[in-house]
Symmetry: D2
């Protein structure tokens, strides 16, 4: 089969490789019908994740069809249409028992990381019963694919960790794909205002389409004033950080009211300053997290009933052979406007 293989920092190739095989009774082999590229894949190519070794097939998101199933797989069989989640869960460890699948002691984020991934014709999925999801009739591959990582990430790590409630003023720092997913998720809880904050006007335009009602370009204006105007001077009820830089995290903390929550979704490479000399007295709660995908079945229900429409996230579509072009487009979002790209059979 063909697959996108990582060959060390800056190097990848879409090339012929051996087909995957079942190595444990709980595995399935899935034929990939649609997959996508994540910002994390670019980080791997940038050399930021040295635990990813040369020879690894990239990708941790897919929708596909079960091609073969191990003897201990109970919930699906050959021919079933499934969502392959970015998180693989053993189902039995302490974290899995608490629905903290992202922290699974034997799994977690392993696809395209420490196991071969989904940017291929076929992929082996370990712990299949607890790591894949049957796709309801009427849900398209493209829509389901948005549940492999980005929508549950924005929803769980941003919206639920942030505790968004009806009537809240929610500030979301960063309007890239994950920030937009968080906006979509926050809307499910009927906040009174969603304030999108970014340095690119183009992304702020997108934020409005996704459900932000106030936008602030923080390259130009300090968003604190806009937030205070909406909150009797107090600050945001919830702030979601969706960038991953010290300055955006520090901004997210600064925009909160006493008693507020800051949900960090961004992937960070450096420490941030936590201004405890101001914040120790302000009753704030800061959360971090990798997606667990415990919300995936519920999000599938919302897709099936049309309550959630992720089409807007998909800006480019390619065939399953067009990985080179897809990577090219996805890696230059300022030029291409790419949010999520879909490669499908």
């Amino acid at each position: 089969m063909r697959a996108v293989v990582y060959h060390g920092p800056g190097q990848k190739a879409f090339e012929e490789v051996p087909d995957p095989e079942i190595t444990d009774d709980g595995d399935v082999i899935v034929r990939v019908d649609a997959t996508t590229i994540c910002g994390t894949d670019l980080h791997i190519l940038g050399g930021d994740l040295p635990e990813v070794r040369a020879g690894r097939i990239l990708g941790h998101e897919a929708v596909g069809t079960v091609h073969d199933a191990g003897s201990a797989v109970h919930t699906m069989g050959e021919g079933d249409r499934v969502l392959v989640s970015c998180i693989s869960a053993c189902g039995a460890c302490r974290y899995c028992r608490e629905s903290h699948y992202g922290q699974c002691l034997g799994g977690g984020w392993i696809l395209g990381h420490t196991y071969d991934g989904t940017q291929a014709d076929y992929v082996r999925i370990p712990f299949a019963d607890t790591s894949t999801y049957r796709i309801p009739a009427g849900v398209t591959d493209e829509h389901a694919l948005m549940l492999a990582d980005i929508l549950p990430t924005g929803y769980e790590v941003g919206v639920l960790n942030g505790g968004v409630n009806p009537g809240d003023v929610v500030a979301i720092v960063g309007s890239g794909p994950v920030g937009l997913a968080a906006i979509m998720g926050a809307r499910l809880f009927s906040p009174s205002h969603i304030v999108a904050i970014d340095v690119a006007d183009r992304r702020l335009e997108a934020a409005k389409e996704f459900g932000a009602d106030v936008t602030v370009n923080n390259g130009i204006t300090d968003p604190l004033q806009a937030i205070q105007a909406l909150t009797d001077g107090l600050g945001a009820d919830v702030t979601i950080e969706a960038v991953g830089k010290p300055e955006t995290f520090e901004l997210a903390v600064r925009l909160t009211r006493p008693g507020a929550r800051v949900a960090n979704v961004g992937v960070h490479g450096k420490p941030a300053a936590l201004h405890l000399e101001d914040q120790w007295i302000r009753d704030i709660t800061i959360s971090t997290g990798l997606v667990d995908t415990y919300s995936t079945p519920m999000l599938l229900r919302l897709l099936a009933t049309g309550q959630l429409d992720p089409s807007k996230l998909i800006t480019h579509r390619f065939g399953l052979d067009d990985f080179d072009e897809a990577y090219e487009v996805f890696s230059r979002p300022a030029d291409t406007g790419a949010l999520k790209v879909v490669l499908s059979r």
Copy 2:
């Protein structure tokens, strides 16, 4: 009457001042029967809180007897024995409606801060109905006094914000008075282990008496090994920071397992580094906070039934005239072993 008056950084005097008078129908005047000194009072004397103006009577903790009550006070009258809490709550603002009294928009921590305080013969208490507590029969002045600030602080900001649950491994960084109060509070939830961490062996001895079953002198040993030995290598379920320095906060974060909570109780003067490059993926939750005193009625019930014995916190007793000596003893805990000092009529 006589009172401890702040006269600018480094200067205070126990001197004659005018008696307080009712200025609002919701006020009471309380005759102080017992009071104490808080570490915060030393910070004020050190000049760290410039909003405290010269001429201010210090102190925010007292037990006393109602001497006079405004016409709108409904829950107490002359002669009633009351606990004066460090937090004054208007009862009507957004924060008071959510039991976040510490963030009250018209009150909060005001006594001995922006209002005259309790280190005096009499004190005026605004919003009396929502800022004082009738003391049940059988609860001594000394025991009740420990509920004016230190016990609810350790309990709410440390134990409840930290979400201590039965079976948890709880690490408490700092075994000063507030850290010890957090140990007492944590014991109410039957953790499997409480690990006390401090650089002074004398304080670690106290920690054992208060309920810690493991102690680590972090001036000598990295406590991470001790924690890992108790947790299959994962880290603490809950960490409580009760010092207020960047390095102790950073230690508290480092000791946690994925999915854990860090409750900051310490009063900080400088920013700490938050190592988001490690923590973004680890599902941790960090909380800060000023005490709200929502737990005070419940803690009074535990005192009344003998479930909580705060006697061990009281190391020195003085008469109400002995403020100079009490400050002297309290400000040199390394020499005197002072935890809480009580001055009583």
Copy 3:
């Protein structure tokens, strides 16, 4: 002034009575600008609440203007526009401290019950600081009036007690005014389906307008099949009882899936059978409750931002002198289609 006075079962008169006066420093006198009639008022007239004595002015919902304020009232003054809530809260008792204002030991539902009420030109409101709400600019009297009782009741006792979450299948038994308010409130949390159940097709039509996507006339069809079809045979995630009869409560319990929640909003006059022989093993949670109005400030924010539009609840409008006709219309909803009637100055 004139007021609707209860003169014993079946008897009321709109008649001249003395103006109310301030009797406690925490009172305000409010000039009533708009008021409404509640089903509970009909129950009083029916003699079902014997604690209501002849001579009592009826009504517990109003929007008005502060006419006079006691000396201990801090949050409003003459001329301020306020919402008078059905719940009066002392602000200081155990229940008020926990935001359980409906259970206030000195207040609760007292207006038009044990205190003179709002169906009058003027009304005295005790504990004014904690029992009335300033109305934001841009919110009409009519909209605000819907927050005096019905919307917070449906939202708190139905939706929040029921724990409605995104993606849930919510069954609401009863599509009278409170059931419709619960539908509006449930929509704020993006359930996947709201199933309205009633014996009157006219009310089911209304339910659709308020946000139900499935309706079942349970006089004709057992709603269990419809619910099972939406839930893989399991049952509803949340059921809200908004009728107040044994058979509707028992239906609400029967429609749930294992692990579900049943929120009772209905006012009951008789015991219901709880089929513990079936339910003991099914992990269900049943809640009852009087509204607390802790959500009122948040609901006011949603009105102010246009997120919530209660206009649909108002079917009839009258002048403040037209109580006789308004009662007549409101007491025959099957004929008149009355949901809420508004009487305004």
Copy 4:
């Protein structure tokens, strides 16, 4: 091997049967080292559970040693010492994903019910990775055995569903084995009072040993007065029903204060009356439930650290051949004083 086989209502025999064999790759065969008898086994023998067919091996609690493991079992192997839980969990269904293992769509309570059980030399355990627990060194078979059903049942269904908190007044109706387990569990949260209520003085004596500080024989005295005396006339904060009769459930509801929780643990055979005409306005929450065993790993930690001592529950000990005598003793607790009987190798 030998096993206790059910032969229809009133009939059982300890007899020779074929050894169990692995039928699914996820099974293990466990050699039973210790087992016990549950009140439910007596219900089966009484004919109350017609779904249990003649020929079924009884028993759903065991501690044992892994004798054989299917190829898809990852967490244990031959020779490992394990706790066999009363609940078998597939790990993959909707309920298992939410830690509601008791409601598992393919498992739940199946052992000694719809699958052959543990009162035998060997037992087949399906879904072994998610249905058994490795026993920590230092925990005895007898102590671990108390975690197969009774302690998690009292803790999860009684204490956690009831939301016991420090300072609460907790009323527990019924001081049989499960009521005593609930008392032990409640003590972990430091309530101010635990009031044990039963009609047998002998059981009330046991309740005191387990941690109740107040006891009431409700065959003689209405416990309401005792509860009101402890709660300023309000009622209990939490009530746990551990009998399973209409009158005890109704008593449990009647003893609560407004805003309280009633946790039903009892197994009921008949409906109870829910007095909604009184309770609709009182903000109560009633829960039912089968144990999920999500707390089992935590309870094992408490055993390992000596925080929980279940020895008091064990009143009689037998050899693994003495089922006839053990059933005889266990079925006459009024005469024998039996709480839990242990049969061990």
